[in-house]
Symmetry: C2
Subunit: 455 residues, 2 copies
């Protein structure tokens, strides 16, 4: 360990290395509070590609595991330190290197905060759509590593669709440039996409070329209340079936609505069983909202309220964004699931989740990126109560089993990390796991990159 520090110091300035255990503990984990984490041997905060290469060469020479980190806002433990590892935090590499209006790209370092990039490109009339709820604090490198989603995906897709090219420091310290800065390109296998969502297990992303869109008009939001989640899901299906492309289509169940009101006094309808938020950023959003409002009424909405102004819309968005935090106040702890099903199965997924909550005697609030079929059932429990904790874990698993049975996936956007490792194997099957492990070995033969994560 002294050898490790000494070697790292040969290529990094003193301020880029932290070895004080009291400080290091704050780099121990992401936001998946129930996943194991160890104490790192050292935290490295490089500012240059060469420094990252030095860290990886050192790690390879000494066979020390490396855990890459962004802002640690992840929800699956992928960024949790393992005992004795090097935590490689990329947050100091936070420069926006280029924004091009004609090419509609941005070139960034991995530590750039999502919201910082979003605002910077807005000034050039451009738009970087991926908007995870943590967008004010999470980093682009973390977004790429976890293939994060957000509220915009129903219209604009996920992070993966915006990553054109990457510079990656490999396990042995070599630098790989992959992908392109062109709109199209098919030269060889798509290594770029392989890194997206790889949770730091294949290499360290040190630069990214991102695709941008023209900045759309400000979106206008409509809120529709329903007496049941299944009526709300019927509305979701009708909206998509009729060919609408909302810029957002979110669902909050009654538990979530009441939790948000309790926390932030947002004045949401206290007695509703499901609140659907639909938004359009088209040239004439009011007309689109009117059409969607009709479909909601036809599906049984008890109240349909289109926001008149951007400010009202922003308030509804804010209510949705704080949903997970609000649900966390119900009990002392939560487990946040992330099951995505074909949207035609959304109603069955929500009904099934309610049945699981009842079976285990637990409160499970659900908010969902409904237009994508991506649900976040939040299991609320008292972590000091062993029996309730056990029931929480069992219900959490049963929700994933339900998702798979409905033709879905165990993770729509939060990733695998350590939280869902066993479930990944269930989803992929033995052939898939074998090939994925083969890819891992190709990139990281010594298994020093975030070992124990994903697989």
């Amino acid at each position: 360990m002294d050898d490790l520090l000494e070697r790292l110091r040969a290529g990094l300035p003193a301020e880029a290395l932290i070895s004080d255990p009291d400080v290091m503990v704050s780099y121990g984990r992401d936001m998946a509070s129930f996943c194991d984490a160890g104490l790192p041997a050292v935290v490295a905060l490089p500012r240059t590609v060469e420094q990252v290469q030095h860290v990886m060469r050192t790690a390879t020479a000494l066979r020390v595991p490396v855990v890459p980190q962004g802002a640690r806002t992840g929800l699956s433990g992928a960024a949790n330190a393992s005992e004795g590892c090097i935590v490689l935090s990329l947050i100091k590499m936070d420069r926006i290197l280029e924004i091009s209006q004609v090419d509609r790209i941005a070139v960034v370092e991995p530590g750039v905060i999502n919201a910082v990039l979003s605002r910077a490109v807005h000034e050039h009339g451009l738009h970087y759509p991926p908007d995870p709820s943590s967008w004010e604090t999470c980093t682009i490198g973390g977004n790429i590593g976890t293939a994060s989603g957000g509220l915009c995906c129903v219209k604009y897709g996920v992070t993966a669709e915006y990553v054109l090219g990457l510079d990656v420091v490999l396990a042995d310290g070599r630098l790989l440039t992959t992908g392109r800065r062109t709109a199209k390109g098919v030269a060889g296998y798509d290594l770029t996409r392989l890194f997206v969502g790889s949770e730091g297990s294949l290499g360290i992303i040190v630069k990214a070329v991102l695709a941008l869109k023209p900045k759309p008009p400000t979106q206008l939001v409509l809120a529709a209340e329903f007496n049941s989640t299944s009526a709300a899901c019927d509305a979701v299906c009708a909206i998509m079936e009729r060919g609408h492309t909302p810029s957002m289509l979110e669902l909050m169940d009654g538990t979530t609505v009441r939790a948000v009101n309790a926390m932030a006094n947002m004045g949401l309808p206290e007695t509703t069983e499901a609140l659907l938020l639909a938004a359009f950023d088209t040239p004439e959003p009011a007309a689109d909202l009117a059409a969607v409002g009709e479909l909601c009424r036809a599906a049984g909405a008890t109240e349909v309220v289109p926001a008149d102004t951007a400010a009202e819309s922003e308030l509804l968005l804010q209510a949705r964004r704080i949903s997970l935090n609000a649900l966390e106040t119900i009990k002392t702890a939560t487990m946040i699931d992330d099951v995505c099903v074909p949207r035609s199965q959304l109603g069955a997924m929500l009904d099934g989740t309610a049945a699981i909550a009842q079976k285990y005697g637990l409160t499970i609030g659900v908010c969902a990126h409904a237009g994508d079929g991506n649900t976040h059932p939040v299991v609320c429990f008292d972590h000091a109560d062993p029996d309730e904790s056990r029931r929480a874990r069992e219900s959490f698993d049963e929700i994933m089993a339900l998702g798979l049975a409905l033709g879905g996936t165990i993770t729509g956007e939060h990733g695998v990390g350590v939280l869902k490792k066993e479930w990944l194997a269930r989803e992929l099957g033995p052939v898939g796991v074998e090939l994925q492990q083969g890819i891992k070995r190709t990139f990281d033969p010594l298994n020093i990159l975030n070992p124990g994560k994903v697989f």
Copy 2:
């Protein structure tokens, strides 16, 4: 070889196997006429997944190379038979298995023709955007294998963005299911994307889950004439810089325009040096065309003619679609390049291509997916003239070198095949090639899947 046929017959009906050399020769090659091809030992035309598995198990047992084929409309020799191989043609597996309006997906076998799928989903109010020029004959399996593009990409992106999940028969005959039928999903590495553009070198695609879009309004096209390609490229940059999203933005140079007129008497402007075609499929395309027309005039357009009707628009589209064929009539042979550059470099790319044509004393007509920066310089030459053939090959290479120097890629949408193998290594660099070869070994340790292609 007798053993090969005998073993294949054990798992495939007689009509699914062709071993008559006179018939087999027609399965020898795709449309890249200058790439080498051998005579297969046998052509297999399976109708079921089990039959494909039987072919691959047999190939593995006997160590016989397998060359998968769709409609052989490819332009890089990726589907060319190698001597003594099994040609595995997927054209008989041509069923559309499912179309879902709510989930906006189609599930298809690989032999479905692109146009057949496009028309089928239109009947459900849906749209499958990828539209290579060969869309009336090419197959979805071939589109996925080559990651094909088309005219729609500037707005709708490439084939890769529409492939959600795949069933793949591996080299050893095992079946892999990868990806999903949900809108989102991040469970493990993105193997699905790895198969897209892998040119049959990693596995045999036997089923695909494709994402669909709502059917857009019929597009309206505008034609703008310019005195120089660089003025037309200025217009392209201005259109993209101002935040427009045309559904098509195509460029034909003067040589191409005159070749199209000569072949099909289309009445295009005979003296123009560059014809730009811009289209919008927005709710009010006329307004968008007017704005874009203004930008064209500001960039120096000598004439701006918006089509008044869908029929006029279709005629202009048709002119663009037959461009490659028209250029083939200029001399006895052509080499079609496929360099994609950042669109800000499009003008430099076209000027540089003209200089290369002059240097080598050749006619090089260019049509381009201008909005994507994706150029197709077509080198016209007499293949009976050895010196002209040599100059053609040298200019073809020099065009790729120019593309790389301008920050581009050697292939925007046609792929590597055998045509651009050496150039792939130049673009990827040694580290990239090493990792790509590692992936190849993981999927195909015996190197029986389309050996000699890509790498």
